[in-house]
Symmetry: C2
Subunit: 133 residues, 2 copies
């Protein structure tokens, strides 16, 4: 990995893009289209300077736009929590009214699991990289 990332994040997610400023993850559970943006910082959201927050809002918007388009999503959740994994990571989560834990928040409420197929994962990864380029 280009910079160090918490093992729980790597266990739960696929890496779909990375450079020295951020790693973009996709939660392994295909039941919910769920991107996690991990910026290269040791600070928490409210401790970042304004410019850094601004850049992360823009990157989150782009991830949200990708989810909207790729997964036909109209509703998204956005969060910085980090109680268990202290490393800053921003959740950008596509929700649908018939999804696996609607209307509950995903954390702790997503009981079922379906993995992405290799083909699905490759398509999402390629599409995301094309989308942001």
């Amino acid at each position: 990995m280009i910079f160090e990332i918490h093992k729980h994040l790597l266990e739960d997610c696929h890496v779909i893009n990375s450079d020295n400023k951020r790693i973009v993850l996709l939660n392994k559970n295909a039941l919910i289209p769920w991107i996690i943006l991990v910026p290269n910082t040791h600070k928490d959201w409210f401790d970042l300077d304004r410019g850094f927050q601004e850049s992360l809002v823009l990157e989150s918007n782009t991830a949200a736009d990708f989810l909207k388009k790729y997964f036909s999503i109209n509703k998204l959740n956005f969060a910085s929590i980090g109680n268990i994994v202290p490393q800053l990571h921003l959740h950008i989560i596509g929700r649908k009214e018939n999804d696996a834990c609607w209307p509950k928040p995903v954390w702790g409420n997503l009981k079922d699991f379906r993995p992405y197929t290799d083909e699905e994962l490759k398509l999402i990864t390629d599409s995301f990289r094309k989308f942001i380029s």
Copy 2:
């Protein structure tokens, strides 16, 4: 109320400040210091234009600074979810490692309840208004 606000928000929270651009709420459960910022908009977070997002990040930062100072908080959660209450509202939540539902997110996991006393509520409200002025 200066603009219309979802009844669930009003049921769950005290209004600690309001004008025609935003209403600032304090969750009624004194076990977790929890501010909810309700901007005057019909759009969701990722559908806002950049300037509006920017202003809300700044206001969230101020609310976070207040929680840090007033409640001696070092860790905060930040979220826009809105699966049950579709009206945009931003959660700024002060967390401690010994709080009532640590390390779980607050939503759905805060089983205990303690109301603010009238005196506590007045002090918080006055302090918040002074803090932002």
